[in-house]
């Protein structure tokens, strides 16, 4: 019984499942703060094709929901969760990923 309780407690609930959706918010992945989620809209024109391909393969593709799990200060790369994996993206690239429908 105790084991079960611990297990449930230790599992993180996706923030977007319990929160409000705001379709009017559009911005970049970099603007996401810790605990916030969004749906990816697309990539900046200026981004090189090979990086668009890689980000798509990692799951950062139009329509995917992504949440920010850690946003360190001082401009350090932020941590984004997509499906069951977490990736760290620096500002230069996260700014080139446009988002819609922010969840807070």
């Amino acid at each position: 019984m105790i084991r079960i309780t611990i297990r449930i407690k230790s599992v993180m609930v996706l923030p977007m499942e319990k929160t409000r959706k705001d379709d009017s918010v559009r911005g970049s992945l970099w603007q996401l703060r810790r605990g916030e989620s969004c749906v990816i809209n697309g990539f900046d024109e200026a981004m090189q094709q090979r990086f668009k391909v890689r980000l798509t393969e990692l799951g950062f593709r139009p329509g995917a929901s992504v949440s920010c799990t850690v946003a360190p200060r001082l401009g350090a790369p932020k941590l984004y969760r997509v499906a069951n994996a977490v990736y760290s993206l620096e500002k230069q690239i996260a700014e080139m990923v446009s988002t819609k429908s922010q969840f807070t």
Partner: protein, 612 residues
Amino acid sequence: MSQVLLVGSPNSGKSLLFNKLTGLNQKVANFPGITVGTHSGHCRHYPELELVDFPGVYSMHAISGEESIALDALSHALNEGDVSSVLCVVDSTRLEKGLVFALQLQELCGRYGKRLLIAANMQDVLHKHDLDFDAAGLEKAINMPVVPLSAKTGEGLETLEKVLATTPGDITAPAVASDIIGRDENAYRGEAEQLARDFGPKGDLLLKTHSRADAFFLSSFTGGVSFLLIMYFLFQSIFTWAAPVMDAVENSLLWLSSLVLPHISNSIAFDFIDEAIFGGLGAFLVFVPQIFVLTLMVGMLEDSGYLSRAAVICHRPLRAFGLTGKSFIPMLSGVACAIPGIYAARTIESPRRRWLTYLAIPLMPCSARLPVYALLISAFIPAESVLGGWVGLQGLAMFGVYLLGIMAGLLVTALVSRTIDDHGEDAPFVLEMPPYRMPSWLPLLRGAWERSKHFVTKAGPVIFWVTMVVWFLGYFPNFGADLGESWLGVLGHIIEPVFAPIGLDWKYGVAIIASFLAREVFVGTLGTLFGIEGAQDNVISLSERVQASGLSVESGFALLVFFAIAAQCVSTLAVLARETGSWKLPIQMFIGYGLFAYASALGMYHLVGALS
């Protein structure tokens, strides 16, 4: 004999699986992209199967040099080799990630008519969280064998081996659906996500504790402090943990010499064994425990998942020096040895930043410098502790000299990156964060043991021959009566003027020249020289001999600085030439860092002289 190619995305557990299947000890690490180059070994239970482990790749669209190398090697093997199957390892807890590559591979293998199997690794993690994985369903949906297993616990390995041992003809070859061909990455990812939803574990695997740990280790305050503490602890441990073992090695050598020497009647043979073997080679062996501890500690940090976080922490600061957070791992590997560091730099996608990382790596305080540092520090810094016993002065000095190498590396990259143009070939920092894991101690201990053994067997012969030559030149023609009058003495006096400005006599000059082969030769050479000179003394440690030689404190510090900077390792330069495709960079480095080292040593000599 047929080959099984082991592929998969970084950190899927390929190396561990390879080790389990072959019984070999490849380094296992919890950092994406640690396997560099291919390794091969024979399957333990089916020796006719040769397993080939490839570096991890995320997809068929390479964006780093390492990925291109891996994919080229894969195509080559599929083309030329006698390949019976391709085994794609996927992390079942992050199924969608591994399946993108698996689906792309299916197309490739279909083209070559090779069998593709999926090893769904990390089942132990799923069991721990009571999560299900529908291997049969997945197998049917993608039309290729799926074997659920855990490389850690060994579950499923027997089944896998049996499947691998069946000839592909026994299994229906994967029929490649016509709609697979010509798909784009979006379609692959979409299908992978759908498959993961349908057959993968249901439930949220991202543990809250991981996010909490990330918040702690990545916050600007607690993250910064813990980073410094961890690095500091790493260097203290080299001294405090290794000390008893070093004493034990030293005592065993003394015991051995007292056992062997009385039985030698020939006086030349006696002197040779005493001075060259026990004095020269022995002086070097004493430092091996430190190399063991250092490798173990770095391996532990890798395996725990912390190193990826350290790369995130270091990214911004390193960018200021023209590097990237991904330079951190090659640089830290360079603390053990520059050669694995240079290989690890392949994971840096940007050619420019990779090149800058190459510039920094030879300045990282590698373990070959350790014996030299340890010798000089124990000769000049008292073995005392301050602040209630928490801070050992020698450990602090070691930390300082390590920091010096790192700072010199950063200084060079900062200067060079500001003077050389970026030709638009930069790549952004995107790094996967592996879960935090308890380090697997056994592979780590084995890894540290292998590295130490490798170090002894690789450096040992070089040191042996150099020691022989040095002893021979120093002992003759007057049979050790006066070192200054020996052949070596004559040679040494010729080069003495070069080292006189930093207060070093010809003996140190000879040891420095010899150390251009490999740094650790310095200690062996000095050991031999002092052995010849002090043959009448009772056996005293080399550091006491250095102290007694009248070497001044300022010269000691100047020597430390010289060794921290000079590019004295022939193997490193050779590997760099191979990686960069020319000798241009190694030669520039050798000359540039040599002059930089000499000028800095001279500066240090005068600075310490003025202060004391």
